[in-house]
Symmetry: C2
Subunit: 193 residues, 2 copies
């Protein structure tokens, strides 16, 4: 091995090992071996297999959030930003699934083992979108009592376009059109009368 | 074997064989054997394995539609009927999944092999719901240009509550509440101003 053994390098190796062996069969020893280090060296960064697995999954889920943050803090009509935010959430997932279907399927299989990490991720998404919704209420665009609950509802109504269980349906040429019709219904449901 | 070999009896046996062996491994010979008849007798009703498989799946999908038909032809506010129709679609699936999880998972696995049967089923659902939506337009309740497209959009927005890919999430105690918030958003989106 050349260079310092950083947490980032371990996570890269773990992702690679996961892709090859699947979530059930990946061990800390496999990860250490692929880096040419002892498993003790890996444990100095991650106390156990579960901690390593959660850190890999968290990094993956954070990648999904990267393009979403700027849309939250931008100026402009909330409806346009909420549309763009949901569109980015959908297209980021869809690109991940089409660029590396195997890794995407691996992370989706992993998700059932890391329910807490996934539910934290959903809370983060809800909170980001809720800030746009609250902005829409302040601007007089949206008639909404509880922006957080509304954000959760919007994520639920757009499930088909971002939930990995639907990856097999994402190649449908009508999907973009369907996204737009769902968005139109949601937008009308949010608007002040 | 006692009694006549009807198509219905063959379908019952095929469902049972599917449950035991899974969709990939079920053969016409297995089905015939479980009925104590020759596979030739089965072929007199279903010309090949694919025809038998499709007929089993169609029967299963028709069971889901049974409680939905009366809601379409009833009188009363369209919003209330659309809510009830979607609620019945969701709860019928959820009951099937919870009463016999193994058979439900089998049919869901089968669905990827019978895309045409599944898309016909979705068309049937869309058509049923579209009749309620069109009724809502006639009654002055809904502002909708294309009831069929709107019905498809409503099915898409409620994916999480009826698509078998979400069966693992259906035990969530917050699911009924989430259904209601999605429905409220959809209803507001449909209503005339």
């Amino acid at each position: 091995m050349t260079g310092a053994l950083t947490a980032e390098r371990i996570l890269d190796a773990a992702e690679d090992t996961l892709r090859r062996f699947g979530p059930g069969k990946t061990t800390v020893v496999d990860v250490a071996r692929s880096l040419g280090v002892s498993h003790g060296s890996v444990y100095r960064h991650f106390p156990n297999k579960a901690a390593l697995r959660d850190a890999v999954a968290e990094r993956w889920l954070q990648r999904i959030c990267v393009p979403l943050h700027p849309v939250v803090t931008e100026d402009g009509p909330a409806a346009e930003r909420a549309w763009r935010w949901l569109w980015l959430l959908s297209t980021t997932k869809r690109e991940m699934a089409s660029n590396d279907p195997e890794l995407f399927a691996t992370y989706y299989a992993l998700a059932s083992e890391i329910r807490e990490v996934v539910s934290d991720h959903l809370e983060t998404l809800t909170e980001l979108l809720a800030r746009i919704v609250a902005d829409g209420v302040r601007r007089g665009e949206f008639a909404v009592d509880d922006p957080r609950e509304t954000a959760r509802t919007m994520l639920s109504a757009t499930t088909k376009f971002h939930h990995p269980a639907h990856a097999a349906e994402w190649a449908d040429p009508n999907l973009d059109r369907e996204f737009e019709t769902v968005w139109e219904l949601v937008r009308r449901g949010l608007e002040t009368r």
